[in-house]
C-alpha cells in the first residue's frame, strides 16, 4: 500500500490518479481518499488501518498543524486522524508527502 499525505488541497488525489495511470473506472476500488475522516467514528484504529491496507493507495490529509481546537469533539477527531496516519505509515510500503503539488518520498523506494 502507498500512503499519500500532505496539507489539504496540496494535490494528493491528483498524485493518486497519476500513480494509477488515470484508471478512473476503478479509482474508487483501488484508492481510499481522505481517510482521516474515518478515524473519528472508529473505536479500533489498528483494525481500521489493517482494513485500509487492502487498497493500493490511501490518502490522508494532515490536520494537526493548526491551533488545538477548543471543541472537545474536534480535538478528539484531530488526535485520532493523526494517530491513524502514523499507523498507516507503519503498514505502508511507501509513504509520499505532497507539498504544493510536489511529491516527496518519506519512506520506501525513491527515498
Amino acid at each position: 500500500m502507498i500512503l499519500i499525505t500532505g496539507p489539504m488541497w496540496s494535490g494528493k488525489r491528483e498524485l493518486a490518479k497519476q500513480l494509477l495511470h488515470g484508471d478512473e473506472a476503478a479509482f474508487e476500488t483501488r484508492c481510499a481518499c481522505e481517510v482521516q475522516s474515518l478515524a473519528a467514528g472508529r473505536e479500533d484504529l489498528e483494525a481500521l488501518a489493517d482494513e485500509l491496507t487492502q487498497y493500493e493507495i490511501v490518502t490522508a490529509s494532515e490536520l494537526g498543524g493548526g491551533v488545538v481546537p477548543v471543541d472537545p469533539r474536534e480535538r478528539e477527531a484531530r488526535e485520532r486522524a493523526g494517530r491513524l496516519a502514523c499507523l498507516l505509515a507503519e503498514r505502508a510500503d511507501t509513504v509520499i508527502r505532497v507539498f504544493c503539488g510536489i511529491p516527496k518520498v518519506l519512506k520506501g523506494e525513491g527515498k
Binding site: 496539507p7 490536520l63 474536534e74 504544493c100 503539488g101
Partner: protein, 175 residues
C-alpha cells in the same frame, strides 16, 4: 522563478529577500506589496516596511489586487509578497474579483515571470490545520491551495522555509 513557502514568522520574507538580492545582480529591484492599506496600523506598518526596503535598494509598488495590471521594467528583479494576502484581497475585498481570484493571480504571476529578469514569490502553506472552519475560510484555503500548486508547477524552484532555513522540493537554491 523561485517560490518561497512557509508559515507565519518562519523567516520566509528575509530568505526571499536575500535570494532576490543574490539573483538580481545590478538589475533594479522592485517589491510588490500586497497589504490593503486600511486603518492606522496598516498605514504605519506599510510606511515602516517601505523605509526598510528603500535602504536595501528596493522600489516599492502597492498591489493589493489586480496583479495582471502591474507592469515592471523588462530587466527588473521582482519580489512579490505575499500570495496569502492577494488571495484574501481578490476573494473578499470589494475591489477584488471574487470567484476569479485564482485565475487573476496566476495570470499576473505568469506575466511577471515572462517580463522581468527574475521573480521571487512568497506564499503561505495553511492547509495543515484541519477543516473545521466556516464557509469563507474554507473557500480561502481551497483557493490558496490551488494557487500554490499551480505556482509551484510554474516555478523553476520551490522551497519551504522553517526557522529561516530552506528545504527544496523542486530545483535548487540560487547560486
Amino acid at each position: 522563478m523561485l517560490l518561497v513557502c512557509g508559515g507565519a514568522a518562519s523567516g520566509k520574507s528575509a530568505y526571499a529577500e536575500s535570494m532576490l538580492c543574490r539573483l538580481s545582480g545590478s538589475a533594479p529591484r522592485i517589491y510588490l506589496a500586497t497589504m490593503m492599506p486600511y486603518g492606522d496600523e496598516a498605514a504605519s506598518r506599510i510606511a515602516r516596511h517601505r523605509a526598510q526596503r528603500a535602504g536595501a535598494g528596493f522600489e516599492t509598488r502597492e498591489c493589493p489586487c489586480g496583479l495582471p495590471e502591474v507592469s515592471v521594467p523588462l530587466d527588473s528583479a521582482v519580489l512579490l509578497e505575499d500570495i496569502g494576502n492577494l488571495c484574501a484581497n481578490e476573494l473578499f475585498d470589494p475591489a477584488g474579483c471574487g470567484d476569479g481570484a485564482a485565475g487573476q493571480i496566476l495570470r499576473g504571476a505568469e506575466a511577471l515571470r515572462k517580463n522581468c529578469r527574475c521573480l521571487v514569490v512568497v506564499t503561505n502553506e495553511l492547509g495543515s490545520g484541519g477543516a473545521d472552519y466556516a464557509g469563507d475560510t474554507l473557500r480561502y484555503l481551497r483557493v490558496l491551495g490551488e494557487v500554490n500548486r499551480r505556482l509551484a508547477a510554474m516555478a523553476d524552484a520551490v522551497c519551504e522555509v522553517a526557522c529561516g532555513l530552506a528545504e527544496y522540493y523542486k530545483g535548487e537554491e540560487p547560486a
